[in-house]
């Protein structure tokens, strides 16, 4: 008796279950969020297409001259170009890599493998997370204070020699400032890579009699290398694109007479400029000479090629290793 009742109810129910009601609200919701993703990506597309279109007049006719030219006061000058900026940006990238990379990896290995669970380690972790969120202009102030100005207060701390060593407003100061800026990024990504090393590998090394540093050198660093490299590449591309700290450290946009060859290290302690600074300068010059808008767009294309190549290499590298190790 009871069973038949349930049976009937179920039979009536099936129609309710199988009937397809169109889910308007759900469809609308999906459409809205898909739209927001598409708008975000469309902005990227418009940005790239518009910039390339703006800079085409320079790039299509004199790309090589543009890469080899220098800062000029008129936009139709045959020798107008971004070489001085490339010099500054490339050296900033190199200085960042050789300083932030070892310190960052050392810090990451220390925090993951060596650090005792002490208050000091917790403080270091907290500080690193918060340093990553400090605005870049503030790092510029630090660079100005530390590497450029010979302020009396700082001489008191015994660090006045830093400004002498860097030559004040120089590529060296800028590179070191940006190395400090990207240090937290390098540490955080390297930490993630080190954390992902399987415990079995570490224990295997210990079992064979390795000391801690031997274990780090033979197991952790090789296994974590792709992750660490990804982080360093991202950090370098961030440093190359950064402009605000350079303005504060004193990158100059006009009156730069020297145009050193890329491997000429004597330019490191002299007045300098960098690609992002050139872009800012030319954008502001366009009121006086509209041709500079085209030049600025062309310089942006050069900068974007550098930065995006680095980013894409980093992302592809990471995805490939993630897939391999599943």
């Amino acid at each position: 008796m009871a069973l038949t009742t349930i049976g009937t109810a179920a039979r009536q129910g099936t129609t309710a279950f199988t009937r397809q009601r169109r889910d308007f609200a759900g469809g609308l919701f999906k459409a809205v969020i898909l739209l927001s993703l598409i708008v975000s990506l469309a902005v990227l597309a418009v940005l790239i297409v518009d910039t390339v279109a703006d800079g085409w007049a320079q790039l299509s006719t004199r790309a090589w001259d543009f890469l080899n030219g220098s800062l000029r006061s008129r936009s139709i000058d045959d020798k107008l170009g971004v070489k001085q900026g490339l010099y500054g940006s490339l050296w900033i990238g190199i200085i960042v890599a050789v300083t932030a990379f070892p310190v960052g990896v050392g810090a990451a290995v220390y925090l993951e493998e060596y650090a005792p669970k002490s208050r000091w380690s917790a403080i270091i972790e907290l500080v690193i997370r918060n340093l990553a969120g400090v605005p870049s202009v503030v790092y510029g102030l630090l660079g100005l204070f530390l590497f450029v100005e010979r302020s009396t207060i700082f001489g008191f701390l015994g660090l006045g020699w830093l400004a002498d060593a860097t030559g004040g407003r120089s590529v060296l100061s800028a590179g070191l400032t940006l190395a400090v800026l990207v240090l937290p990024i390098v540490i955080i990504t390297a930490q993630e890579a080190v954390r992902a090393v399987p415990t079995g590998l570490k224990e295997g090394a210990y079992g064979l009699g390795a000391t801690k540093s031997e274990m780090v050198r033979t197991q952790i660093l090789p296994y974590a290398a792709p992750g660490i490299l990804t982080g360093t590449l991202l950090a370098m591309s961030r440093a190359i694109g950064e402009a605000a700290p350079l303005i504060l450290v004193g990158a100059i946009s006009g009156g730069l007479t020297r145009n050193p060859a890329v491997w000429d290290t004597s330019g490191l302690r002299e007045k300098f400029t960098a690609l992002p600074i050139i872009i800012v300068e030319w954008v502001s010059e366009r009121g006086r000479d509209p041709g500079f808008a085209t030049a600025a767009a062309a310089a942006i294309v050069v900068l974007l090629v550098l930065v995006l190549l680095m980013n894409m290499t980093a992302i592809l590298l990471r995805n490939r290793f993630e897939k391999k190790r599943g």
Partner: protein
């Protein structure tokens, strides 16, 4: 029973060669120093900010920092409300752009996208995250101003807080998207399955189950984005519509200077920070205010992110 094994096993033999021990100690010290470097950097930042800002706060005529016509640092007029109002406007506009777009993209990627779509879209968003801010500044001034701002009541030919705000918003979309997506990815699958088992459709599951469960992460993404927008310099510097000085204005259609843009404009152009006696120090005073604001926001954001981790 015979004893097996080396009889002359001593403590010296067990502790390994002294050279190896010494090397271990040196390496571990070096790594400790590397880790402590970041603490030293923060200490230096705070010291630098306070040392110079203190001179400003001690010597400045405080009536020059409030209720003036605008921000004219080279003439000794440091009206903070001018910068604060501009910072508020650009940040608010940026959030109006970044919050819906970033979160919408995150919801799509985390709840709807097929794995193959995800693998395609995610790297593109990451590329957007890597675009330098000068590029966005150029874009805001030369594309957004004439093509967007001009259609919503502004002037297309010059920069304004509205153009700069939209530019900053575009810059923060990937940040909002990635933190929100992480938060949603941390919601256990069992919650979604339980909801689906009760007959909820995907949209209902997303809105009623996943989003409430991930709410601390979503709030964190907004807080971190606000802090990033407050500190963004180049977009406002280039597209904000004001150069060295700014007249106080409450309209987003006008040009003005935010805190970081004011710092950049003070330092740019000339070889030296020139002006009235305290101009150099005002740079550090504004920097200190900005640092405190962003630090506070980041600490709060951190708390929210930690809460997501604790829950699941």
């Amino acid at each position: 029973m015979n004893e097996v094994g080396p009889a002359e096993l001593s403590i010296e033999a067990l502790s390994g060669s002294p050279r190896r021990v010494r090397r271990e100690r040196i390496i571990s010290r070096a790594m400790f120093c590397a880790a402590s470097a970041s603490v030293v950097v923060s200490a230096l930042i705070i010291y630098a900010l306070f040392a110079e800002a203190w001179i400003f706060m001690r010597d400045v005529d405080w009536s020059a920092t409030w209720g003036q016509l605008g921000w004219f640092p080279r003439r000794g007029i440091y009206d903070m409300p001018t910068l604060l109002v501009a910072s508020l406007w650009t940040t608010a506009i940026a959030m109006v752009v970044a919050a819906p777009l970033g979160m919408g993209a995150a919801i799509y990627l985390s709840e709807y996208a097929k794995p193959s779509h995800r693998a395609l879209f995610k790297p593109i968003l990451e590329i957007l995250a890597g675009i330098p801010s000068v590029v966005l500044g150029f874009f805001a001034l030369l594309w957004l101003a004439p093509n967007v701002v001009a259609h919503i009541g502004g002037e297309g030919g010059r920069g304004s807080m509205l153009a700069a705000g939209i530019g900053v918003g575009i810059l923060t979309i990937p940040l909002v998207a990635s933190i929100s997506e992480d938060a949603m990815a941390a919601v256990p699958k069992s919650l979604r399955e339980a909801s689906a088992g009760l007959g909820a459709r995907r949209a209902v599951t997303t809105v009623r189950v996943v989003l409430p469960a991930a709410v601390s992460g979503l709030v964190a993404s907004l807080i971190v984005a606000v802090s990033r927008a407050l500190g963004e310099t180049m977009v406002v510097f280039m597209a904000g519509g004001a150069a060295d000085a700014a007249i106080k204005t409450y309209s987003p259609y006008e040009g003005s200077l935010t805190m970081p843009a004011a710092m950049a404009s003070l330092a740019s152009g000339t070889d030296q920070v020139v002006g009235e006696g305290l101009t150099f120090q005002s740079l550090f005073f504004v920097g200190l205010v900005l640092f405190m604001l962003t630090l506070g926001l980041n600490l709060i954001g951190d708390r929210f992110v930690a809460r997501v981790r604790e829950q699941y």
